[in-house]
């Protein structure tokens, strides 16, 4: 049997592992380019805030207030007026064709009705195939209508006996990066370190280099630590890289304690390295390892609460979500970065993150020791 707690030879492993990482251009690209790319894509492209919705309108009104309404829509930034059409049917056609997502149908007596303090109904056609746009567009249109009515006639206030003014905490501008980027950090960290670890160990097993190492007096612990330490450093580099990108490019400040964030980040890295090692003990080839990783990455991305709230999921999915380590680390990330929460407020996800780390790494190490004589 191999001595379990023998640290001799760890230096040799770190020596060689560091060279593998630094020498392989694809590994380096993965380490640096992948977090950059993912952060830029999710941070910029996926913007859940609704702006510049392509809009067309049809107006039968002869008064000047309809023009004023259209100008108000354009001025709000939410709508981009791309054209005026000549018939109500054309509104629908424009939406079907995709040239516009929203169509305003302004009735004949729009200006006159408003001036006579009569309700002036404006029909809004909204493209429901884009659900985020639909809700936001409807809300924005209603709001613009109300404020315009108010500005024209203070008596309009009578129709609004309750003035609801929601105040949004923590992310007052409802900027998507504040919501997405902290979550993305967890996903990026998990994917990169898990995949690198799995690939590195599987490659050694498949090529027979692992056997060559196992006949040397390097102990199992030393061998594992020799693998884990370099990839932990890689993980922290990426952690730092995405945190810097987040605070500079996306202007999302870290409201809470950076040190606590880093400590819990280390816990999460243990989890993903452990998962990578675990994958390597099952996979026979690098392809298999990649497929197994994908099997974990997809539910992590969709169910951890990164895009959709866990509390709003159907019960079964919620159970799955709470078995994913990323779910807890996301709570930690959003808690510390966005809300400035302290460790006492985050004790549950914090403990879960650390426990997952210890369990994943422990299990994986035992399985590794058992599968390599």
């Amino acid at each position: 049997m191999r001595a379990l707690f023998d640290f001799h030879g760890m230096g040799a492993m770190v020596y060689k592992e560091a060279r593998h990482i630094l020498r392989e251009p694809t590994t380096l690209a993965l380490i640096i380019a992948m977090p950059l790319m993912q952060l830029l894509i999710y941070g910029y492209a996926i913007n859940m805030r609704v702006e510049h919705i392509t809009t067309v309108y049809y107006s039968e009104d002869s008064g000047r207030l309809s023009d004023q309404f259209i100008t108000a829509l354009q001025g709000s930034g939410a709508f981009d007026i791309v054209g005026r059409v000549e018939s109500p049917e054309s509104l629908r056609q424009a939406i079907v064709a995709g040239t516009a997502h929203v169509g305003f149908d302004i009735p004949q007596n729009f200006s006159a009705d408003i001036l006579r303090h009569k309700p002036a109904p404006v029909q809004v056609l909204v493209d429901g195939s884009q659900s985020t746009i639909a809700e936001a567009a409807a809300a924005a249109a209603a709001q613009i209508g109300t404020s315009m009515a108010l500005s024209l006639n203070s008596r309009a206030i009578k129709f609004q006996p309750i003035d609801v003014r929601p105040m949004i905490l923590f992310n007052p501008s409802l900027r998507s990066p504040n919501f997405l980027v902290p979550g993305l950090i967890g996903l990026v960290l998990q994917n990169i370190t898990m995949v690198l670890m799995a690939l590195s160990v599987v490659a050694e097993r498949a090529r027979g280099t692992l056997d060559q190492v196992l006949v040397t007096p390097i102990g199992t612990t030393a061998l594992l630590l020799g693998k884990i330490i370099p990839y932990t450093i890689v993980g922290f580099l990426d952690f730092g890289l995405v945190l810097v990108m987040m605070t500079t490019i996306f202007q999302v400040p870290i409201a809470g304690n950076l040190f606590v964030l880093l400590v819990l980040g280390a816990g999460f890295l243990m989890t993903s390295l452990g998962l990578g090692l675990l994958i390597s003990t099952y996979a026979q080839s690098q392809i298999q390892a990649l497929l197994m990783s994908a099997f974990l990455v997809i539910p992590s991305a969709l169910l951890s609460g990164m895009f959709f709230q866990v509390q709003l999921m159907p019960p079964i999915m919620r159970v799955v979500a709470y078995t994913l380590p990323l779910t807890y680390f996301l709570e930690v990330l959003r808690g510390i970065i966005v809300r400035g929460a302290t460790i006492t407020e985050l004790w549950l996800p914090a403990i879960a993150t650390i426990l997952f780390g210890l369990a994943a790494l422990g299990l994986a190490s035992l399985r590794f020791a058992r599968t390599s004589a």
Partner: protein, 311 residues
């Protein structure tokens, strides 16, 4: 002489499949032992059990008197191992591979430099130190692997098909190295397919379907009763045109077996038929020159043994 390597009923089963079946033999220290056998006969598994990479299902083995299961950690200092495939890190240079294994064997900085230099000179690796090992030719990769396996100066060296897939010159050079190291007192345990390499070993074991069928010096193996049956005689026929002669010989009713070795035909005939009878029966066929009585070659031995055990 004390045994460097000893196997006693060593067996490995994977599920229902017995890969190594009750193998027993001993290798005296300072010798070159060759383990032969077709692919999948259990050669690599035997080596891996001896090196502590695979746990035996039953039986036991020892290296320098240390038990291969209970004392596998201690054994690591006594053995060098060169796997069948190229197990050098291809993205590291030759020097970095050496450095890694030198550190793995816990050599201090001065010792590392010293041992590396000795082995680099022995193997002639000097010009390739800064070349990535993946770019080296097969022969040089093997030399590098051998150097890495020898850094801690082990008394016993396991080589799993060390010359598979390398050119004849590199093969010869590598064997010259083995001889030099064996002269210096190291014990070699080599698996191979090549008969000429088997002839060079001080002792040879032949393993088939996991079972050790024969074991001994090549001289002893050639004299095995099961290979030299009393009712048969083995002749060599020198022939210029081998194929017509081969066909003619096989048509003779008293010929048990015929094998071609270049311009030589090895024929096993029933002892009732003399060399004269063979010559007179072949008189009508041109293309052959002489008939001699011969000992079986090692290949004859192994072909015969394999056919016997297949029956």
């Amino acid at each position: 002489m004390k045994a460097a390597i000893a196997l006693d009923g060593l067996t490995k089963q994977y599920g229902q499949r017995t890969v190594v079946d009750d193998v027993t033999f001993a290798v005296p220290s300072g010798s070159i032992f060759g383990l032969l056998g077709p692919n999948g006969s259990g050669k690599s598994t035997t080596i891996k059990m001896l090196c502590g990479l695979v746990l035996p299902t039953s039986g036991s083995g020892s290296i320098d008197g240390l038990d291969i299961v209970a004392q596998s950690a201690a054994i690591r200092w006594h053995i060098g191992y060169m796997a069948q495939s190229n197990t050098m890190y291809e993205d590291l240079t030759a020097d970095e591979n050496l450095e890694f294994y030198a550190r793995a064997y816990r050599l201090g900085p001065a010792e590392r430099r010293d041992r590396k230099e000795t082995l680099v000179n022995l193997m002639g690796l000097g010009p390739f130190l800064d070349v990535r090992s993946g770019l080296l030719s097969g022969g040089w990769q093997r030399r590098l692997a051998l150097a890495c396996a020898l850094l801690h100066d082990p008394p016993i060296v396991f080589l799993d098909e060390p010359t598979a897939g390398i050119d004849p010159v590199a093969r010869r050079d590598l064997w010259d190295l083995f001889f030099r190291l064996a002269e210096a007192g190291k014990t070699f345990f080599v698996t191979t397919h090549y008969m000429d390499e088997a002839e060079r070993c001080s002792e040879v074991g032949y393993i088939y379907n996991g079972k050790l069928i024969a074991c001994g010096t090549s001289v002893a193996l050639r004299r095995l009763a099961s290979v030299n049956r009393p009712d048969t005689t083995r002749y060599a026929i020198d022939a210029e045109e081998i194929m017509p002669t081969f066909a003619a010989v096989r048509a003779l009713p008293y010929v048990r077996d015929a094998t071609i070795f270049g311009h030589e035909l090895h024929v096993v005939v029933e002892s009732t038929a003399s060399a004269e009878r063979l010559a007179s029966d072949l008189r009508g066929h041109a293309g052959w020159q002489a008939i001699r009585c011969v000992d079986p070659s090692l290949e004859d031995v192994f072909v015969t043994l394999t056919r016997e055990s297949e029956k």
